[in-house]
């Protein structure tokens, strides 16, 4: 490998959001002709670092060097002009336009003519797509394209802008393994052309396969930077997980044997297939897998947001029909969804408003009027129980930190006194202190006899908290492990393998 000078260097980058540091003095180099993988748990700061390099955020401290010269990107567009392109996990394309337009709109204006020379553009587009060796054509409409193809369009768009650095944020998360193969061929080709690639990912086999260099981030700090040839997958896992979770997590529940929730062959073609799962009273069942494995989709079926197309749901030994969240709640199911601000809380409203929003019937009189006298003590009781740090219950949720927002969110569902709790990524994007409190809470809830289904992409919390774990991969349950035989290696293997094949192949 030729030791070229880095195109982009990040030196001592720190970033804080409302006082909380999510990145602490991180160094990161991007070299031409090299694939640099960036790994770490959710919330380790990977995306934040890449957003700083691609101009979405400004660093709180530290410096970016472009070709050795200090640079400060005003906005993502500025970074793009400098040759740095970020390919999002969810491709940012114009659904209503064709491929050529997706590639060239915006930056072809530089030739000064108002009229577009379509013939030339289509020719250029097809040449570019040919050089990537993909079967997309310039006149194809983007609407209806698979995520993989849209990613290709974005990559081609970056290339058409003469990008030198291409950052891919979990590009394989939503791809099938065939599509991953095509993507990797493209990445290799780009590498040969001397482009610098940053690859963010969770699937370690993929990283071993595609990356040259690897940086591990943990809690916003750089733990290690190594050449991939020098290390093993186990090393990476150890570096990612690092801290000893055992001391942080208190687990006190003892699973009972009364069945609380059971699903039988829940299927939604294209999302998940034949998911059968059992959840007992007092039990914490983990659900592991990669992003896009179908876990959240499965959860929203159980909660009735988007019911499965076939299969059965049994609650406490009875078959139930759940068409919408109203049904789910009636059967004692509560769900703390994955995306707090989109599907969870009304962030512009007060803590009080949010906490009692799912139990309006209980705090309202028969005529429908909210009884402040009934509402206030409940809010008080639960904010105390979860130790929500706030000025007063009238404060809007958006003024709270992520951890406290999450507590309000959980409190909202605890107030429903449901027996079955589905927690989808309960500790996403919150700091370590709040995480510990939420772990303690989950354990306590199970101890009280609630059945908890915890979906999580963070292995340590799965390993430490759950009594059993189901692992999903590409919509299928690939493993069910008991507490005795769960190890990170087994889970990782099941999460990236389907029926003996590796997803990366």
């Amino acid at each position: 490998m030729v030791k070229d000078a880095p195109v982009v260097q990040a030196k001592g980058i720190s970033k804080s959001f409302s006082g909380v540091f999510v990145l602490k003095h991180v160094d990161f180099d991007i070299r031409p002709g090299e694939v640099h993988a960036l790994v770490g748990e959710n919330g380790a700061g990977k995306s934040t670092l890449m957003k700083i390099i691609s101009g979405v955020y400004q660093p709180t401290e530290g410096q970016l060097l472009l070709d050795g010269k200090p640079v400060r990107f005003r906005d993502p567009h500025h970074a793009r002009e400098a040759g740095i392109a970020l390919i999002h996990q969810e491709p940012l394309t114009f659904q209503d336009l064709n491929v050529a337009e997706n590639l060239y709109l915006g930056h072809t204006r530089s030739n000064g003519k108002p009229v577009i020379n379509w013939r030339e553009l289509h020719k250029k587009t097809d040449e570019l797509l040919n050089s990537l060796n993909v079967r997309i054509r310039s006149r194809d409409s983007v609407r209806g394209m698979s995520i993989a193809d849209q990613q290709m369009v974005e990559i081609a768009c970056a290339l058409s802008q003469n990008a030198r650095v291409i950052i891919m944020d979990e590009p394989t998360a939503a791809l099938s393994h065939g599509e991953v193969k095509t993507l990797f061929k493209t990445i290799s080709r780009l590498k040969e052309q001397g482009k610098a690639i940053v690859f963010i990912g969770h699937r370690l086999e993929e990283i071993m396969q595609i990356a040259d260099r690897l940086t591990v981030l943990r809690d916003g700090e750089r733990v290690s930077e190594r050449m991939v040839g020098e290390i093993t997958q186990d090393d990476i896992v150890r570096m990612m997980v690092g801290r000893s979770f055992k001391e942080l997590i208190v687990k006190e529940n003892v699973p009972g044997d009364v069945l609380a929730l059971e699903t039988r062959n829940l299927t939604y073609p294209g999302k998940y297939y034949d998911v059968s799962l059992k959840l007992h009273k007092g039990e914490i069942v983990g659900m592991s897998g990669l992003v896009g494995a179908g876990r959240s989709e499965f959860a929203s079926a159980v909660f009735g947001v988007e019911p499965a197309q076939s299969g059965e749901i049994w609650v406490k030994g009875e078959k139930v029909r759940i068409h919408n969240p109203v049904d789910a709640m009636r059967h004692g199911i509560a769900m703390v969804s994955e995306d707090r601000s989109r599907t969870g809380l009304l962030t512009a409203f007060s803590i009080r408003f949010n906490m009692t929003f799912a139990i309006l019937k209980r705090v309202a009189s028969r005529a429908g009027f909210i009884r402040r006298k009934a509402e206030a003590p409940l809010v008080q009781q639960y904010t105390d129980y979860l130790s929500v740090r706030m000025r007063d219950p009238e404060q809007t949720v958006k003024e709270l930190s992520g951890g406290n927002q999450q507590k309000v969110f959980i409190a909202k569902w605890l107030l429903t006194e449901s027996d079955i709790l589905i927690l989808d990524e309960p500790t996403r994007g919150i700091d370590i202190g709040a995480k510990m409190e939420i772990y303690r809470l989950i354990s306590d809830l199970a101890k009280q006899g609630k059945a908890v289904l915890m979906i999580s992409s963070e292995l340590p919390e799965i390993l430490q908290l759950s009594d059993r774990v189901y692992v999903m991969c590409e919509g299928h349950v690939t493993a069910e492990l008991t507490r005795q035989d769960m190890t990170s290696e087994k889970i990782m293997a099941a999460a990236s393998t389907i029926q003996g094949r590796s997803a990366g192949e």
């Binding site: 993502p76 394309t93 114009f94 659904q95 336009l97 915006g106 108002p114 577009i116 209806g144 294209g270």
Partner: protein, 343 residues
């Protein structure tokens, strides 16, 4: 064959609208065969043609606004204001027709700029801005006209020639107004299809975030679109003066916004932005024009017109929804099948 099928599936909306129009002729022909006979047909076509130009001209602008996920409720008032300014120049200052047209377009564009500035640069929702300016422009029209209308005698000679004269095609006279609006449609077709600006309008409406990342100046595009709509209001103002032979502070352009929005939506411009074609809008205008004409010609009392008109809008919406959901189902099935095949 495959090409033809692709052409149809890509332009479903346009074909549905076209089918709707043909259906109306068919129904009319069955109910009153004589309507489609030689003598009457010319009259029918002429009245469809005369209904169309004002609405088409405005719909071209509204289409761009809706593609960008906006709306402009002020067009009717803007038409009245531009017409009135020109009318006063005609009446009190003896301005020539051409001077009047230039002034009307300038006034219209200026009003459009005000909308555009408030919407694009001050980020106030279009519906609020244009609701406000709708009142403001109409009020201003009353103020400058002191409530008096500019009558046909006071308009410069030749104003109404645009309706009475035109190009003769076979036995049908195509009035200049129609020719002008069709030319405008052609111009907009070319702009929207072949210029950076035109494609950027779609891009911004389709995904503003992505447009911003690619360096498209979203605000400028939005501002320009509203300015262009304003200029079109100026042109429509003069068309209205020519077609109706007077300029009235309360009647001119009244209710135009709703008709134009309906034509735009029926023509397949999606309220979710990013989608819409000039051909579709042209068909949408023709459809509404046909409905209006046929109702009168078939002998359905004029009183049913409003009802039918509303019913057609609602039906068009429903058809749109059904076509869309069928389309997305087909796509999803394809994707699932594709994924399964890859396994």
């Amino acid at each position: 064959m495959k090409e033809a099928r692709r052409f149809v599936t890509q332009n479903v909306k346009e074909f549905v609208t076209l089918a709707f129009i043909l259906l109306i002729y068919l129904v009319a022909g069955v109910l009153r065969p004589e309507v489609l006979s030689g003598g009457r047909m010319a009259g029918v076509v002429n009245s469809v043609l005369l209904w169309t130009p004002l609405n088409l001209t405005m719909a071209l602008g509204m289409m761009m606004v809706v593609i960008m996920r906006g709306i402009d409720l002020s067009i009717g008032s803007n038409v009245a204001l531009s017409a009135m300014v020109a009318g006063i120049l005609f009446r009190d200052h003896g301005a020539s027709l051409w001077q009047g047209i230039v002034v009307a377009v300038a006034v219209g564009a200026a009003c459009g700029m005000i909308n555009g500035f408030l919407i694009a640069y001050l980020r106030i929702p279009p519906i609020i801005v244009t609701l406000g300016t709708m009142n403001a422009y109409r009020g201003l029209t009353f103020i400058i006209s002191q409530g008096k209308q500019v009558t046909g005698y006071e308009l410069p000679p030749g104003t109404t020639d645009f309706v009475a004269e035109g190009v003769r095609l076979g036995g049908v006279l195509i009035p200049w107004l129609v020719v002008i609006s069709l030319l405008l449609a052609l111009v907009f077709y070319l702009i929207l299809k072949y210029t950076h600006f035109g494609r950027e309008v779609y891009a911004v409406g389709s995904n503003r975030e992505a447009a911003y990342l690619r360096g498209i100046n979203c605000k400028k595009t939005e501002f320009l679109v509203f300015t262009i709509v304003g200029a079109l209001c100026g042109i429509t103002a003069m068309m209205s003066a020519s077609r109706f032979g007077y300029i009235n502070p309360s009647n001119t352009g009244k209710g135009l916004e709703f008709v134009v929005i309906s034509a735009t939506i029926i023509g397949g411009v999606s309220v979710n932005g990013g989608k819409g074609t000039v051909v579709g809008v042209l068909l949408g205008c023709l459809l509404l024009g046909t409905v209006n004409t046929m109702i009168a010609n078939v002998g359905i009392p004029g009183t049913v017109q409003l009802f039918t008109y509303g019913l057609i809008i609602v039906t068009a919406l429903l058809v749109d929804r059904i076509v869309l959901s069928l389309d997305s189902k087909r796509r999803m099935a394809q994707q699932v099948a594709g994924k399964e095949a890859l396994r």
